[in-house]
Symmetry: D3
Subunit: 244 residues, 6 copies
């Protein structure tokens, strides 16, 4: 089984971290390939970043399907960008890391908290949690004032903040499981897990497991209505690859 | 007051129809400018179409803000694509035509129905209605098997279907107002209105009025958190225009 | 275009303030007429006040329709009293100021807060927000212990409290826009707006704009079911005006 | 224990029917007094009717409290008009018949249906069901095209329609209990009950029982916030009775 | 009228306290019989306790129906254990004390709080409140770190904690009525009531009143679908009593 | 990795079918052990059946943990009985088959339908879907009048009914994926899958995959609040095994 994990941002160091997480989540015998587009934002920290990244994410999926298809695709950004469009383009499962982690929490915890980056993405995550049907299971979304860049520049301070926020979520918000809500937090999972008395979900690893599960169950994307292939039409000014 | 109406698809004939609607919705003295990107899908009938169109929509807004800013922007596609990102890019109001029409129905009707195109966009519109807080006000979303192209190719048949669907929504679903749920339906509004005993909302005209209202009230996009300007970072492979 | 703004309380000074707001929200060329009934409560600060005011509000509308009809009516009290009944009595739009302001926030802000008067009206406003489909967009309803009378008696203290509450809503509740939740707060809008970094909605001005928009779009109240004229029957002990 | 049941319409024949229901619901030893105002609509079949009736309903309660207080009050109209205001005016329980019947269904049935009068009151009842927290328990609201007057003019046809509608609700909507959703349907309860295999709730009798229960438990209306006595102020043009 | 109140735990002292509450809630002339199974947990403080208690609760009901049927049954544990199953086994009403108290609050208060025992049952009560359709009416669920055993061992400390928590719920959470959320709190009701300015609901007394009301109204459990008698089948290893 | 699948009914033939499904869902190298209690109902088709089965289900889990612990447990009954209690008794994951299938649908389909047995379990499944946060994703719950026994007695008729119901759900309810909503339907999965154009979820196989995923990710049951071990206390009349 081959799973392609696409990091929608253009920072190869982050793709490497994501790859470590992705492999930690995979079963023996699963081939995990991680990649990122060459174009687009260096990190995704808002809607402009996200929407711009989606067209390059789509391009990566179209190229993969044409040249070297995988058995399933995982989008490794906690906003779960572009999933609905990607599902129109393949009959393989396409899985988001946020929806995967959120879905798995319910099997082991009454409620979870998300610790993520800066407050400006709060609405994005609230709508994501709502779409996942998890509003009443979500104890809190904690948005310390951190950027993705901070993770690399100031690892120790970030780790402390993440752990402190998680502890507060347990003590004050009744959280019983924790999700690290940024694909770029892969490098923190191990230490956060050691510091906390609750299950800690690595979203990327969760996504890879869910993708594997669907492949293992013989389940692909439904093609009867919502995720049918795009309607035939001209896409002006775009290459052959993009024409439906 | 100048309002720019952006049709995110690349079909100039549709932009012309939209422009007629947009002007019908504007007050005397408001300048309405309609445009569409040169690149992207000819029509928007699913998520792939929508997400691809968003990057060109963003480009149009960035160019407008740089070269010839308007007092407000209206996105003229019933899926309300890309609004959250566009709002990060300007402090002028950015208004979707679907959310505008849905918001206005509540002042004159207990519940509304949407008559739109093919069933594959049902989830898209359901999530849109939910985001607008109108689930319990929405009597039904009627999705006859029509494409946007049909509107031009077979006007009479389409008109009949739209009117029949609307009548059924009134009789069976308790709809008391009607929204034509596709910017491409502008040319049908007048005849549908004549045929029905309930208020019929032209979404494009609604969007223009809402944009005008905000400008008139001196209200712009809130810049404190969610819609702050994008974080500074490199967007690889993209021109100057796109760099935050 | 002529718009009548009805203040349901019987305090002419407040009607004057409301009129300033109403005119600030109107387009050039729109005639705004403000009035209040001669009978009923001096202010509306609870349900008893509200329900008693509704019969006089209805009377004003009936007289207006009989003697000097407007193109639309605005009810200028933040509880949006009696709208459903008023809509049965005319085919012109009848607009509440609370529902107008709430509807407009979504175009420019991820979430809004309401700063209003005393805590006893909390349930009233919560149910209003829920009916508007805005529960998840409403960051908080702030109810400092102020009466409507305080606004006139102690302007400076009230202004400070309103601004402090709004600042707290931004800092603690993630509000990104503010609604002044009392028609009697018209006189504070300008100073509150200067003091805050977010859009501030004057509810009365918002209501006038929404009413104008509907008239401009040629949209009236739907008369097919919910808002049909009242059933024919005798209203005992009431004059000719009230008989359906 | 004395319970006053107030029919908000002005039709004494209906008050008599209501009184039969009310007494059928009372325990031995409970004194039930039924009354209606002298002024207002002959029946309540929409919001205009309802809001006009509320001021006279309030007047009846104020007189009762002043002259001959009861231990609890029941408002006998299925729209539950004016409850929130009435609760401000007394520390005795004030109970609506609709909310009572809806509350009691959950103890004996997975879901209930309401069979009521004409379709124009659908939104009124949907909002009432929602306020009662029973949306997901409500199998359907059936609105045959009947007026309250029809009940008296054409008893047999009405009975047949009510029974047919109830049977359809059981067969098609999965209803497992039935509420007759109009205080004027009191005269039908017995025959409907005989014809159906499910529990049938007489709303007036339910309201009386709930009122009794609260009195028996020593529970009165909470006076700390929402239902505090009205704020002191002048009610212009209204008699002494109405001044808070 | 005879009502059996079943305490699902095996602590007779608690059954005695419950019996005092139950009788305080009953009308004159109602016979109240209280009992508890001989087997099962001494107290119910989590799901394991609850599910184990349910089979013995079922056994008590089956024996009662066979040997000495009552007119209605009340389950006296605030988690409302096993109600759905018990309703399949009788056509008499089966009433939970939590759902009863929650249902009655809405007639006298805008919102209520529950003061209960240890935090581990928070999810249990949240789901219960949700099933009762009361999420938006529930100001808070307060879970001080108390066990049921503490009530007997350290009455004074517990009383103080309950009152303090209730006062905080009124002051901070806008609660306007209070429910003591544990059948074992019967002995505290009187003193808590004296200490608070809001209505205090004794859940056991509430349950008895609701049961009485249903019997008085001639309403039994609906037997058409959900609560039909169990399907005929073999229950291996269980005695005659348990065979459907 | 060893996974124990517990069928809560006492029909060994059904456990065998379940085992085939369970193994079809497992990865190579995962040991799957299937079992059922010796006591309890032959099938689970209502709440009485379910609650009685839970105590024996609990006993099986306690014995497994004491004598031969697995890495995870799967409860193979579509009502997901007793999960919350089982999670208090172990720090391994305990997974329900219904919640697993429901969780997985969202990755490949906009909405799903459940085809299950007789209508009496409709409320049970509606509440389950609601607890899973999937109400708006659930196109329909189809309840043909079939018992579990029918599956064995009349295989061909059942298969036809299941396929017909599923086709109707796709055509009329906009379902895009299908869940067979009864663990006893394992033997139908293959043929149903062949007959339908949408993904078909075998709930038991889904449960095994989810259990595997959690084990693979190193995630166990959270023990901080809701799922802590039961409080220490006496369980009267029950053996050593049951004492916490």
């Amino acid at each position: 089984m081959k799973i392609k994990v696409i990091n929608p941002n253009t920072t190869p160091e982050m793709t490497e971290d994501i790859c470590v997480s992705a492999r930690s989540g995979a079963s023996p015998g699963t081939e995990v390939v991680c990649l990122n587009p060459a174009k687009g934002p260096g990190t995704v920290e808002g809607w402009y970043d996200e929407y711009i990244s989606i067209s390059f994410l789509i391009e990566e999926l179209l190229k993969a399907e044409r040249d070297d298809p995988a058995d399933a695709y995982v989008v490794a950004c906690f906003g779960d960008p572009g999933l609905y469009a990607l599902r129109e383009l393949t009959d393989k499962p396409v899985v988001g890391v946020a929806e995967s982690a959120i879905a798995l929490t319910r099997f082991v915890a009454a409620r979870f908290a998300i610790v993520t980056i800066m407050p400006r993405i709060r609405l994005m995550l609230e709508e994501l949690v709502e779409r996942c049907g998890a509003r009443h299971r979500c104890a809190s979304i904690r948005t310390p004032d951190l950027s993705v860049a901070d993770f690399m520049d100031d690892y120790d301070r970030c780790e402390k903040i993440l752990i402190d926020q998680a502890r507060e979520a347990i003590a004050e918000d009744y959280a019983e499981a924790m999700i690290l809500g940024c694909a770029g937090m892969a490098a923190f999972v191990e230490n956060v897990r050691k510091a906390l008395p609750v299950p800690v979900f690595d979203a990327v690893a969760s996504g890879v497991r869910v993708a594997e599960s669907l492949v293992g169950l013989g389940i692909g994307t439904s093609k009867v209505q919502t995720y049918k292939p795009p309607e035939k039409k001209e896409f002006k000014g775009l290459g052959e690859l993009f024409q439906p």
